[in-house]
Amino acid sequence: MNLNSTRANGARSGNSRAKAIQPWAAVLGGGALAIYGLSRKSLGGTALAAVGALGAIAGAKRSTLTPTAIHVQKTFTIDRPAEELYHFWHNFENLPRFMKHLISVTTKGSRFSHWVARGPAGVPIEWDAEVVDERPGEYLVWCSLPGSAISHRGSVEFRPSTNGAGTEVTVALTYHNPVGKIGAAFAKMMGRDPERQVREDLRRFKALMETGEIPTVVGQPSGRRSSAVKVLHSMKEPEATQQLRKGPHEVQAAKLKPQFAGVQSGGVR
């Protein structure tokens, strides 16, 4: 697969999203039409309601509960030059520092990389990916290799913001028809709230690039927590951030120093 620009990539992603939305639009639109028709309380209205209801039913039939592809796109403005952000991202080994679901990425040359992600029930999922398009300082598109457990495609685009303060970074991720049981389980896990996942990954990327660290409160003291609060905390996003932090030695830092590089000796406490 070779793309000439991210514009083409965006268009393609846009299409797949439109397909995913279409049945629901029919359900909602049809439903609205049906309600409007009924509210008219006339013969014409009843006909309108019937048409709407049929549309809604057809839409519901076409939509299946398991999505064929998950597509997410998010944009953040980051107050760093595009070149710097591009280079940090292009070293895929940096991605696990801010992407919650990744354990590690190992690059093989400038085009190929091996990805290991947190899978369901703690079983890691691995796949290989290839850079399929890039323009230094502007965009980067990568794709999983055929036959991988995960059929994944990602792109990141860097545009100088209109007010000159920083770079607008758009990440688009697509996970296609998963292969096998593990793939299906992973897709399910990703599918729970992929929007939030990508948004929070990008938020961590922003913090890391702007300040050199990711804000956290995991590991700070507190009074006795009730069990309900403990469960809540174990589910919260920052916990995953901490897991990322535990293994900074696993990933290579490109420009930034690894986190937790130790502290200067403290006073007597």
């Binding site: 804000p215 009074g223 986190q259």
Partner: protein
């Protein structure tokens, strides 16, 4: 260490908790020498701020000595005596660079919670609910302070802790409230609420050239302290019609600027106050904007309403028509602490102001739960409670 923890409405306790540790390379650990209870802590105590959790350590006004620094801390050193701003700011993002420090993009690890409620998240705050980051607070013996080179203000003079402690929140907060009024020489500024922030707003308005400051409260000791700061006192509980009273005091024009230093739990009288309170108790609305409504109603045409008082959620019966009809300007928000701290330290050093005059209660950390109670019910003429985390040596 010992720390004051929140367990529910009107239930705070001093507990033994683990010492804080460095979590990020730009963190430092501060051994706290003085800390205080803020009026806004009473909103937490009353349980009207969402996303507080059992066991959370409260407190956001504190100072002390740096005892540990992370590997990426360059300016601050072990042994530095510092006042810590209650807003946490990275110093690197768009907002910090615009001096909008309290809107920092990178200091709230729970930004997504605030984003869901407010559209976008402000900065992280110490000890002020998980929506604002869930950072452990400073009513404790130690605290972990992120971005050590950006926030903590080093105190090099021999000023006493009590004279500089309020640089951590209420003095800059009162000052920003006055600055937000865009005061021109001789302007009349009316201040609702003569608690600590109101007191500093009154004094700051004077420093910024206000011709007359009108202080509004119902507690005699607070009104007296406001008069000491140069204000004209109005006891609203003794006035038949506050808006008319303010008109008479301003030549019929109304104040040029009105400061709501009360916030979401206003006291008042009349039917709308009872209805606000009932709604807040039933959880229908968070906020009781009684003072804010009066600010809007009494402010002169084209004037400014400045809001340092904390609001958390939604307002009922907000007189937006009056605001629109009079072309009012609204200024508000958490304080951009880092912008004001050095300037206000200068004022203290020059002797322009002694912030410690507002202190009425000095307690040990162990007695903090009593301090909350006393402060909430305004018992013993309480205006400001300062805590010494080390006073009782058995705590050490």
């Amino acid at each position: 260490m010992k720390a004051l923890c929140w367990f529910g409405k009107h239930d705070v306790r001093v507990e033994s908790v683990p010492d804080p540790v460095i979590l990020n390379p730009k963190d430092c650990i501060v051994k706290i020498t003085r800390t205080a209870i803020c009026g806004s802590d009473l909103h937490l105590y009353d349980g009207v701020i969402p996303t507080l959790e059992q066991g959370d350590i409260l407190g956001h006004e504190f100072m002390g000595e740096i005892v540990e620094v992370g590997s990426e801390v360059k300016k601050r050193k072990i042994g530095d005596r510092v006042v810590v701003p209650f807003t946490i700011a990275c110093g690197q993002c768009f907002y910090c660079k615009q001096e909008l420090w309290s809107l920092c993009d990178n200091s709230n690890p729970n930004a997504q919670i605030a984003e869901a409620l407010y559209g976008y998240s402000g900065s992280g705050l110490f000890g002020y609910s998980h929506m604002y980051g869930g950072y452990a607070g400073g009513q404790a013996q130690y605290a972990r302070v992120p971005f050590a080179d950006v926030g903590p203000l080093k105190i090099e003079s021999d000023l006493k802790d009590e004279q500089v402690l309020f640089l951590s929140d209420i003095f800059p907060t009162g000052y920003m409230a006055a600055e937000n009024c865009n005061i021109k020489d001789g302007d009349v500024v009316a201040v609702w609420g003569c608690g600590p922030v109101g007191q500093f707003a009154i004094r700051s308005a004077k420093m910024l050239g206000a011709g007359k400051v009108i202080a509004i409260d119902r507690l005699p000791e607070r009104l007296r302290l406001a008069q000491d700061g140069g204000a004209e006192a109005v006891d609203y509980s003794q006035t038949h019609d506050l808006i008319e009273t303010l008109k008479e005091l301003t030549g019929g024009r109304g104040p040029d600027a009105c400061i709501d230093a009360v916030g979401m739990e206003a006291h008042g009288h009349g039917i709308d106050w009872y209805s606000d309170r009932a709604k807040q108790m039933m959880g229908i609305s968070f906020d009781r904007p009684f003072a804010l409504r009066q600010c809007i109603q009494s402010c002169r045409k084209g004037g400014t309403v400045s809001v340092p008082g904390v609001y958390g959620g939604f307002l009922d019966n907000f007189p937006f028509g009056a605001a629109f009809g009079k072309g009012l300007t609204f200024k508000m928000g958490q304080t951009n602490m880092h912008k004001y701290m050095p300037k206000l330290l200068d004022h203290i050093q020059k002797g322009d102001i002694d912030p410690s005059v507002i202190i009425t209660h000095r307690l040990s950390l162990q007695d903090a739960p009593d301090g909350y109670k006393t402060f909430l019910h305004k018992e013993e003429n309480c205006i400001k409670v300062v805590l010494d985390p080390w006073e009782d040596r058995s705590l050490a």
